[in-house]
Symmetry: C2
Subunit: 418 residues, 2 copies
């Protein structure tokens, strides 16, 4: 067998630029027609490999690839799936059966911390089996929490979206200042790390009187009294207060901040950190409050992409193809920061095994001493990552995202029973 | 006295283009130096008039006006304030004292239904007093519910923001389809009318398989069983379901759909229609669910303005100045639709007294027969209003919204004790 098929798969939550990585992978692979035969994409991530649901990307012409590179979400579908931890086993056997059946010599796995664990283990398994597979990790996560890379594709665009949202909502609430005091809370993604929350601080431009006045991150324990005292102080000074809350903020005892309610079946969660904090402010301070939950909107904002983020997303895709062809299985192209301003970066491969499943938190120097905001150093780090506005073609006033023709290749194996 | 001062005031909730109206008013007024002496703006709406907190817009040079015309939120501040209903009275007396003290001959009041009531009553009061004031209404509301105008400045940009948001979040959730079924709910503004909810239907482009699959509007009673049956049918067919919910949807008995919980002080509201609907789906169908609440973001999206909306916002401002100078007090420039495609419109004055406090609901022909979506006619109506993308200048990756120099004029009256 020639093992001349390159297989690409999305993994985990998608981003506004994960398709840019996919398009770059496909284009880069096509530049090696002598070595790479077919470029397939898994339908819905690793689950698609198990189900042998593989898309032939040959159906995407140059125009379709250009369109793919600017379309948010994951065109091939993604999934959350953890590789079982035991060596060998039915899942691992099935994956290699599919690799063999379709002569997959290169697997490019585009995901976050958990995916880098899968990359390391698949590569170890290939070596154990004496299989030619080269498995390369391709970084992606709006959470920006992969260790070993200066930043993660997907983060810059989500950061730009959220900083812009805080800036604009801040202008709105500042217009509506009333006698009772007005508070605006925006809940952003980040279960364990505060990178996205920190990004909203860019809206303030270093001015403590401009929104957001408070940024709560999961890296430090939530202190209700200190928080409410600050909300009161800001509101008494300015008439309003704008607050960013990471979804994963916790009290010192580790308990998540969320809205709970007792119903006949016991306590149920009713809302997340944003509404819980807003309610706290209403009940203890009596201020009028609004809260926003951008949810999927923050990681799908293709109409307002960071050009730098999109370029990095494409660059890691191209670099991953080169690493695959160079036999560097088990590695991931990492982004290195060469200079802050003007921003300069390049890529260098790192091994995935040492970084697998780790999570990069905000460094201590990025959280303000009072634990209620982030520092200028955090802003200096994030600022270059949101630079540039990609101009989306539109149709009838909306971004022109049309569906793609994604034919699946014929199955060669019995159905997966897993 | 010469009564050569023109006074402009924002009223009620602000929009992404209310400052465009303000800038157009100021520019148009400056084109009549022989007749209009000063152009003042009330600080925080009618409350600012009562407090005699008046901004001298002469401090804004041409560059500042250009910037004002692209800045979301209300630069002069706004407020919610209903004029007391009795004729005369201390509030009315104070307003006319301020008009006299600052020689206000023209008041341009930029708001929604309630503001048009204020315009009609202020004009009636001026006539009763033999006062020269000409009070002109200037339409504005993201709710698009002013009677007598084809649409309202502010709506088009919010509609564009929400349709784009549903389009993009829809691509995200379609990527993440899982075995359990995934549901996405977006709660949009609209206490009594479903115009903004209807706008999200543009994301589907007429395809029943594309998000949003369901649009719930306040104009029709919420039928939980019919709704859940549709959610199940869509999710079984596609693996996911995307839903737009107006904040003001109600059951047939008039009760709002919201999350309530019993606590020691009785029932308290914990969340709005979006989270209530999401919980209903989780509890009755068992699907994984996410919900988004764009809140202020939807009416402040200056980075993604509708060019048509912005042009109309400026046009009503200019027209209002002309109506004021023509002595057409008590009127409002209304937008008339001359043609759908290509879209053509013009302006014509209408009397505010007959439309005051009325609310324009979605016409019956805009709501689908099954009450779970809107019609092609609704999309045809909204489509031209979201056309065109205004390009915001940016700095460091964010829209360049800098603060304005807004000096207040010297007070001439005793402090307001109201």
């Amino acid at each position: 067998m020639s093992f001349d098929t390159l297989l690409y798969a999305h993994s985990g939550g998608v981003t506004a630029v994960i398709n840019a990585t996919a398009a770059a992978v496909i284009e880069a692979a096509r530049a090696h027609p002598g070595r790479i035969g077919r470029v397939l994409a898994a339908h819905r991530g690793i689950g698609g490999i198990l189900r042998e649901a593989l898309i032939d990307t040959g159906a995407l012409d140059a125009a379709a690839l250009t369109r793919l590179a600017r379309t948010p979400g994951g065109a091939f579908g993604s999934c959350r799936f953890d590789l079982p931890r035991e060596e060998g086993g039915t899942v691992m056997n099935r994956l290699f059966d599919v690799f063999d059946a379709h002569q997959v010599g290169w697997l490019l796995y585009n995901g976050g911390n958990g995916s880098m664990d899968a990359v390391a283990r698949l590569q170890a398994e290939a070596r154990r089996r004496g299989h030619p597979l080269q498995c390369i990790g391709v970084p992606k996560t709006v959470d920006n929490d992969i260790v070993g890379t200066d930043c993660c594709p997907g983060f810059g665009s989500a950061a730009k979206y959220l900083a812009t949202s805080m800036l604009e909502a801040g202008l709105d609430i500042a217009s509506m200042v009333g006698a009772r005091g007005s508070v605006f809370v925006m809940e952003v993604m980040g279960r364990n790390t505060g990178w996205l929350a920190a990004a909203t601080a860019l809206a303030a431009g270093g001015d403590p009187d401009r929104p957001p006045h408070i940024v709560l991150v999961p890296e430090v324990a939530f202190d209700e009294d200190a928080f409410l005292a600050r909300v009161r102080a800001v509101t008494e000074r300015l008439g309003y207060c704008a607050i960013t809350v990471s979804e994963g903020i916790r009290r010192a005892d580790g308990g998540l901040i969320m809205e709970k309610s007792r119903d006949p079946r016991g306590y149920v969660q009713l809302g997340g950190a944003g509404s819980a904090v807003a309610r706290m402010i209403l009940e203890r301070l009596g201020y009028k409050h609004h809260w926003a939950i951008p949810d999927y909107l923050q990681r799908a904002g293709g109409h307002w992409l960071s050009v730098v983020d999109r370029e990095q997303a494409m660059a890691v895709g191209r670099a991953a193809v080169e690493l695959a062809l160079a036999g560097r299985g088990g590695t991931m192209p990492a982004i290195r920061r060469l200079q802050d301003a003007p921003y300069r970066w390049d890529l260098a491969p790192i091994e995935t095994a040492p970084i697998a499943n780790l999570e990069r938190a905000l460094p201590a120097g990025f959280v303000a001493a009072d634990r209620l905001h982030v520092t200028a150093a955090a802003c200096d780090y994030i600022r270059p990552l949101i630079a540039g506005e990609f101009v989306q073609p539109t149709r009838d006033g909306l971004p022109d995202y049309s569906p793609f023709d994604l034919p699946q290749v014929e199955r060669r194996l019995p159905e997966w029973e897993g």
